[in-house]
Symmetry: C2
Subunit: 574 residues, 2 copies
């Protein structure tokens, strides 16, 4: 082969290999982004001082179970005047619960803050979630790892998990791990349950000198503290990923004028995601679980609410539209919730007295219904409600419970059931001559793809600053706190890092039949400016095609530094 030909072959081969690499331009580009720090954190790890003007109440149960950390007072982080001499320390970090965009930046923030404070500080990553604190499965985080994962999505730098440290034995093993590793600090990145873990770890690791700080993470957006924590990290990116998809469906349905798109969005206990995606996309129908609960709407009311918009638009010749449904909509439905609780109770009672092979779910559907109907706690009213539901939902309500006896909401294909009920209702309206349109539908569920997206610039910056804030709190001797940033709606320069004591966030909640101390989830506040504005605007959005097309998340140019609209509206409107 001639040298020239061979050179060309090699060149072609190299080009092909470049196309087969799993290095994307996006990853390379994102690695080069350096999230900036707010003014307070810019100069190095800050000091802490009590923050006046806000008294947080602590439940008696929290004072009893967390006698030490329940004494914590709200802290603000301020620039440190003189640099403190320090000894080399080791700080652990663990990712917990579902992945959320920005997790890697929390680690990058802790790492950068630690190395800046003392080049001999070391950061230890626990692998695969909290369980690995128990089993001591870890690795040391290096500058190379941080550079590789910075600003990227997912939690795969360390992995994650859902284990709770809920027994004295597990706690003892954690103590052993932290002692063995000589950890002076431990940062727990997670949602309400993980921050509950953090509080108990803080209480129990105090005497071995391991301080514990939580970081507020959850795409659901339900980890909030009024006046102190506007939103956790991860929420904005996931909402923007869903908004891209719903915005694209706006564009498609307005072009094709053929389909109603039912979009179920992740977020079981609160409808924050639906609220933000609604502001990002202006769909035709928006269901907010908290409103359904507050107004005690039945499922038939909800069906009617959707169908009325379909009928109204059909009159205008618009047989298309987009609808947002929160994943947890059934939980907000008083009537259905009562049925679920009663049926769970009846199934549990039956199974307690039956052999495994004769369990409730071995009965035929008809026999199951019969048995429920004969139970003392089942009223005529329950039967009327139950029999008024479509068969798919009836069967859904009878599905086997999970190992704790809980109803499995995720197994019920809510958007398809609602869609079926709307179709049935519309057939009746057609019979009466009220509806003359064509009702063709597509249903979608968006969740996991949003959890895995690259974080927006806002989440990159926010998570990175949270990592630095967590280090400041550790460095100042704090434990049993959640690192947070106040004033997120202001320019980043003016963000205010704080430490929120974990104990006052706790309330008592029934879990597996007993009251447990856990951090309270924050639902959509129907008196918030954002919700009130939505309630006003949605009537226009229902009939007009006021669609908003946010497009794919951008990292450069106009809009790249945008923040959640709900955050901004809540800060603006009073």
């Amino acid at each position: 082969m001639k040298a020239k030909t061979k050179g060309k072959v090699n060149q072609t081969q190299a080009a092909i290999e470049a196309f087969l690499s799993n290095e994307t331009p996006m990853r390379a580009q994102r690695r080069s982004y350096q999230p900036p720090l707010c003014a307070v954190l810019k100069g190095g790890a800050g000091a802490t001082r009590p923050m006046p003007g806000m008294e947080l109440e602590v439940l008696k149960a929290a004072r009893d179970q967390l006698p030490f950390v329940s004494q914590n007072r709200l802290l603000e982080i301020v620039p440190r005047q003189e640099k403190r001499p320090d000894r080399p320390r080791r700080i652990g970090v663990v990712l917990s619960g579902g992945p959320a965009p920005g997790g890697h930046n929390v680690i990058a923030g802790i790492f950068a803050a630690a190395k800046r404070a003392h080049p001999e500080h070391r950061v230890i990553g626990f692998l695969g979630g909290p369980k690995s604190i128990i089993t001591n499965k870890h690795l040391e985080i290096t500058a190379e790892m941080v550079a590789h994962f910075k600003n990227s999505g997912g939690f795969h730098m360390l992995g994650t998990g859902r284990d709770k440290i809920d027994t004295p034995e597990k706690m003892e093993q954690c103590r052993q791990t932290c002692t063995a590793l000589g950890l002076s600090g431990l940062v727990v990145v997670g949602g309400d349950d993980s921050n509950t873990n953090a509080a108990f770890l803080a209480e129990n690791l105090r005497d071995i000198g391991t301080q514990v700080i939580g970081i507020p993470k959850t795409i659901d957006g339900d980890l909030q503290v009024p006046g102190l924590l506007q939103i956790p990290f991860g929420y904005h990116s996931a909402c923007m990923a869903f908004a891209t998809e719903v915005g694209n469906l706006n564009s498609d349905c307005k072009s094709d004028r053929k389909y109603w798109h039912f979009n179920r969005l992740m977020g079981r206990s609160a409808s924050h995601i639906v609220l933000e995606v609604a502001f990002q996309t202006h769909p035709n129908v928006i269901l907010i679980g908290e409103e359904i609960e507050e107004k005690e709407l039945t499922i038939h009311n909800v069906v009617r609410l959707i169908a009325d918009v379909v009928v109204e638009r059909a009159r205008m010749g618009k047989d298309y539209g987009t609808i947002l449904i929160p994943e947890g909509i059934l939980e907000f439905n008083q009537e259905i919730n009562v049925l679920i609780i009663k049926i769970s109770h009846i199934i549990a009672a039956y199974n307690r007295e039956a052999l495994e092979e004769e369990s409730f779910h071995k009965l035929s559907f008809e026999d199951q219904v019969q048995f429920i109907d004969n139970n003392d706690i089942w009223r005529d009213y329950d039967s009327r409600v139950f029999l008024g539901l479509p068969p798919e939902l009836q069967r859904g309500l009878l599905l086997p419970r999970d190992s704790h006896g809980n109803f499995q909401y995720a197994l019920v294909n809510t958007e398809r059931i609602l869609l079926g009920m709307v179709a049935t209702y519309l057939r009746k309206q057609r019979g009466k001559g009220i509806y003359k349109g064509t009702f063709r539908t597509q249903n979608h569920y968006y969740g996991y793809d949003g959890r895995g997206t690259f974080p927006t610039n806002f989440d990159c910056d926010y998570a990175y600053n949270l990592g630095h804030a967590a280090f400041s709190l550790l460095n100042a001797g704090a434990t049993g706190y959640m690192a947070a940033i106040k004033e997120l709606h202001k320019p980043m320069e003016d963000w205010q890092p704080i430490g929120i004591p974990l104990a006052p966030l706790m309330h008592l909640e029934e879990r597996f039949g007993r009251l447990e101390l856990v951090i309270q989830k924050q639902k959509v506040d129907l008196n918030s400016p954002a919700f009130k504005i939505l309630a006003h605007e949605r009537e226009k959005w229902a009939v007009e095609d006021h669609y908003r097309f946010p497009g794919p998340i951008q990292f450069h140019g106009p809009g790249a530094d945008d923040k959640p609209i709900t955050l901004m509206l809540n800060a603006l409107g009073g």
Copy 2:
């Protein structure tokens, strides 16, 4: 109220209103993007000349039905030496079939080329697809409309539709519309069926002086002409939208290590989309319909193919992964296809002799099966295949046919059926001690959201140049051609606009029981460099986590000007 306070209130009100506008930063940004032109088109509308070295054969049926346009020879567009004097002309444009990203740029291209050639040229947009040529529903396209919609997704500037101009009456009405509007040209933007429409329109509007040019559009990517048209516009953007989503799932599943994600991707007749998304994301299992067809794989083979990867990964402790499934997978399955054809035949025969209220689908499922089983064309082998399928698929195969008697693939939830079959197979493997993993799954269908996405820079440029090429062809007197761009893999400067005669693209296809002349869809070529490379790489992707994370479509920075990987590999390898 003091002036200062009032000023602040107004300021707040203005800020809130800005957040509620449906103008997004993205739309504003995209409007400012001016797609460049290739060298040939830069200087104004080009001239045409026969392109040597390529002889295209024309079927006898095409010569018979399209006696005039079947004489067309392949044209290349070249810069025009001197500007031709011209009279003001009117050109119509119609969007046809499903929306594809870039459609608005075809219109922008035609408009810019026309106005540059003569400021009095006018562009007429037909509203809501080809039907509006019949009914003469149109508007005049203005510079403001073009500026508003340029580089945006969807087809909602004009709307779209699926009507065919397939009777002499409809054709006559089209002739009347074109005469009434005084159209000298008509551009049809669409897929195989729409370009078939274009050929017949060209043949029939010739004598009234309306030239007709088609534009290759379809996200499915199956409108290709080997050596001349590498890919239609819209394909790249839709693939990138799907790749964002699948890449995010890669990231999520690798973090959570908990789920197998089954992703069904739009694209019924060919698996081009799966091929491109596979190169963009490196998932663990990739099903290509054409390969299943070629290798005559049964559905059980396919299930085995998936399950083997699940088992292998479970051995490595990886109970997670991503799987790509082409929407039309059942069509590629020889065995299932035979059942579908026979069942359709049997149902049709039954219904011909039955009253409406006694139609086949009024029978119970068991009676339906019984009746099919007794039919002469149904062999024992068919029964064995049928009874070996899971009940959900059996019921799927018996679903009512559409108004033309065709099987409705879209009604069958293929990914869920496959997933169920894999789960069943894995249970057996577990019984034998071969499989010890946990098989938890999530299924996704991505289609409409990709159709509606903002077009990538590549599609913006491609569609805009196609619009200019169409105008050049009209300006040079051509009719019965599809505008195309050769050498798409080269720098845009070197793109080569051409006119492909429509007649040689036609073949005979059975539609509604009779042979019709239509443009042939192009399937994935198993001998193409891209497929061969995939076949080599996928073994590594199956077991290693070689995931690629393309991230959201970017319009600035590295990667923003990327082209489809399959296009590049096919051009490079060879």
